[in-house]
Amino acid sequence: MASTIRVRATSSGETTEVQALIQHPMDSGFIKDSKGELIPPHFIQQLTFEYNGKPVFTADWGGGVSKDPYVKFAFKGGKKGDELKVSWVDNKGATDTTTAKIQ
């Protein structure tokens, strides 16, 4: 199956800008379906970005983050061709991990 994580990491020489889009329903637990039943909460709780084995960014998320969540940040360093490791875990214990090459 294709990864749920899309990453674009671009180095400008001094810094690396990272954008990620993740396929996830991010159900908050407060929305009802068409039958009027609450859709149980199902959202990513933690998303981490690691470079050279060290976290460069960690997101703690609740159900208030949009469906197919997006995040953008930047860190100092990062070379073209180096790898960035991205992983998430949701409130049901599901996880996904990918590595992206810095462009």
Partner: protein
Amino acid sequence: MKLRSTIQFAAAAFALALLAFAAPPAVSADKVDPVADEKAFKKFFYDKFPKLKPEDFVNGPYSMDADLYKQWQDKEQFPPYEFSLELGKEMFSKPFKNGKTYGDCFPNNGIGIRQDYPTFDEKEGKVITLELALNRCREANGEPAFSYVRDEMAALTAYMAFTSRGKPFNIKVPNDPRALAAYENGKEYFYTRRGQLNFSCATCHVQSPGEKVRTEVLAPALGIVNAMPIYRSEWNGMGTTSRRFTTCNSQIRGVPLTPQDDEYRNVEYYLSYVSNGLPISGPGARP
């Protein structure tokens, strides 16, 4: 009562007679003239929005409101239709059980051809939309048809639109009475009021683009199909042209037709034709 209606009838007849006189002698009012329609349609929108460039119209409400435009630009950095687009690409290149592919059903293997649809099939005498052509391709290769309003069809058309991005709509209405009739029927559908709200497509998308229904900025009809399929935040997902038409009809509290009904095909034909020359921008994102 009787007298009154007689007077009304007489008045109406008189008015009609006047009209007949007023009409320019050479052009009869019911002549189907797509070329003149397209010109008048575009002029209407260009006059209404003098600051917009023609290609801005394909971005719908985002071209009409600065705050919306900025939110759209933010979203486009990593657009919400990205996953659908990738799925569509994967589906498109994966062979059917018989080994054939979607590409085998289309000119140029289906790449960069979205701007040519809908086409008029002179053998069949009917309008063929891209969605219809895709399902016919599936059926011809022994695969079941997809729902016209669901994600698979949106993904396939998203990918095909993407390969045509920037290419100008190139819809042809051949000089065939059936093609002209289909075009005219689509135009008529577009301008006919229906539903409990008694709205036509044009009420919102010709008369009031840039204005708000409740709180949402209405898209101009010019360029509206160029962006299809669209990811709508309101839908929390993708929608095809078929989905857009059926939900429009529901929103005006009318009864939607079956997707790919002749009339829907004709209205897509009309709308696409009058947007000729404007670039394909699909897949799009909308509020």
